[in-house]
């Protein structure tokens, strides 16, 4: 099976390359895998995720995502790559002035799909995340758990190659967290999407066989 993500001697740093966060990391993630990345606060979990969606350029080494090397990717290519990724954030990152339906189809809107396709997909995805009646509501009218379900629906809207999730249940209660894990597990199983989750704690309810990386002392190590 081909690698969707591959890091080779990857070094990530802030402050013009002076503050190293991750050094000489090597790992590969295959299509359809469900992967957890854990580590203590400030270890560099979110930094690695930022690098994976092209927000932070590697200082050294190579980071290949979906066949594109993010070390030297052009802006236009990066924009295109991002349209094949689904992103889920701890703070949901929904546009509060837009309806739930419009938020869900943002990736389709960016890709230039017609309004009809967007409407159909919005209805289907909101049904999938069990929020069919919320299409015309605004994010701030929803609870945290519901907002994150909208976030998951948005991440799934364009059948992404990879889903990157940054502490997706960090702000949620146990019930809502379980709903979110369930949705992500389903996406991995049914759509063969690679799911990479950065979290401080792996949920116990998880049923999938998953891989687990830990970030410690600037290194990324697989836990067996």
């Amino acid at each position: 099976m081909s690698n969707v993500i591959q890091a080779t001697n990857l070094t990530l740093a802030y402050d013009n390359g002076t503050k190293e966060i991750i050094k000489d990391a090597n790992f590969a993630i295959k299509k359809g895998e469900f992967v957890f990345i854990t580590g203590p606060s400030g270890s560099g979990k979110s930094t690695l995720l930022k690098a994976l969606y092209g927000q932070l350029k590697p200082r050294e080494g190579n980071l290949i995502v979906g066949g594109h090397n993010l070390s030297n990717i052009r802006r236009k290519k990066l924009q295109e790559l991002r349209t094949h990724m689904g992103m889920i954030f701890q703070d949901y990152k929904l546009v509060n002035e837009w309806t739930v339906a419009k938020n869900v189809v943002l990736p389709l809107m960016i890709a230039g799909y017609s309004n009809e396709v967007q409407d159909t997909q919005a209805r289907r995805l909101l049904k999938h995340v069990k929020l069919p009646e919320y299409a015309d509501k605004y994010p701030l009218e929803l609870s945290g758990g519901e907002q994150q379900r909208v976030g998951v629906a948005r991440a799934l809207s364009k059948n992404p190659v990879v889903i990157l999730a940054d502490e997706p249940t960090g702000n949620l209660d146990d019930y809502s967290s379980n709903v979110i894990w369930d949705l992500m597990e389903n996406a991995c199983q049914q759509l063969d999407t690679t799911v990479l989750v950065v979290t401080h704690k792996i949920p116990t309810i998880f049923s999938l066989p998953y891989r687990h990386f830990i970030i410690e002392n600037r290194g990324v190590y697989e836990v067996h």
């Binding site: 927000q55 295109e80 991002r82 990724m85 992103m87 837009w98």
Partner: protein, 271 residues
């Protein structure tokens, strides 16, 4: 209230720029007529030994557009009053040829001097009188007024553009979160900045309309009622229908430049 204030902060400086453009257009149109009148009213006097055709003058300098010979018989009739026919004929035979030369452009004193020296280069031409002093003083006053107005318009436009960019930055800040989210999901610049373009385009259209209505009012109502001769005389130059298109294009261009300036000055997503 905040909504109106936000838009006025953009519309007012844009209107100031459009006012500047419209003033410039009106001034250009009015002064074109004035320049033409000055040019048409101006002639230089040339004295030559033998008759000279217009194309000969034009070969010497391309700014010469017309030549008219001063009637020699009239000169003789004035200076040889009471003289015998033979004497008159003798004077006529020795009298040089006089020409009034017209120019195709409104020229400054240096350029007039150039024409003078070009004409004098021909051995057939005995004398050239440019009447440069009175011409130069009119020209200098005219050029000074033009320069002052243009400088003021440019200064006003620069200050207004800075205000437009500042207001655009406020809008960008207001919509920052939305633009950042769109960027994360791979939206191109045009789509991310779409909200800024929409607001700015709308305000550009409003500004154009306000200025056009103002100048149409000045042209068709105020100018006539004012009783100011200059206004009535130049009423046609006050506003042309084509000005609406010029103002609209200018305002849209300014808006596009301002949006690009503001959006490109940011360095990607900051979380």
């Amino acid at each position: 209230m905040k909504f109106i204030k936000n838009h006025l902060m953009f519309i007012l400086p844009l209107m100031a720029i459009l006012l500047g453009i419209e003033f410039y257009l009106i001034f250009e149109r009015s002064t074109d007529t004035y320049e033409t009148k000055l040019t048409q009213g101006y002639t230089m006097l040339v004295v030559s030994k033998s008759p000279v055709q217009l194309d000969t003058f034009q070969n010497l300098n391309t700014h010469i557009s017309s030549s008219s010979e001063v009637n020699r018989d009239e000169i003789i009739s004035n200076i040889a009053k009471g003289m015998s026919q033979d004497s008159s004929n003798s004077i006529l035979a020795k009298l040089p040829y006089f020409y009034n030369l017209g120019l195709n452009l409104y020229l400054n004193s240096d350029e007039l001097e150039q024409i003078k020296s070009d004409l004098k280069a021909d051995s057939n031409i005995k004398r050239v009188e440019t009447f440069g002093t009175s011409h130069a003083s009119k020209y200098k006053l005219f050029a000074f007024i033009k320069f002052t107005l243009e400088t003021f318009i440019i200064f006003m436009m620069v200050v207004s553009f800075i205000l437009i960019v500042k207001q655009m930055e406020i809008w960008k800040y207001q919509h920052k979160e939305r633009m950042q989210i769109m960027e994360i999901f791979g939206a191109p610049l045009m789509l991310r900045a779409g909200v800024l373009f929409r607001i700015a385009f709308l305000d550009a259209i409003f500004s154009t309309l306000f200025i056009s209505i103002l100048f149409m009012y000045i042209k068709f109502s105020w100018a006539m009622d004012s009783g100011i001769d200059l206004m009535i005389e130049h009423q046609e130059a006050l506003f042309h229908a084509s000005d609406i298109l010029i103002l609209l294009c200018a305002s849209l261009l300014l808006v596009v430049i301002a949006v690009y300036f503001v959006v490109f000055s940011s360095k990607g997503v900051k979380e």
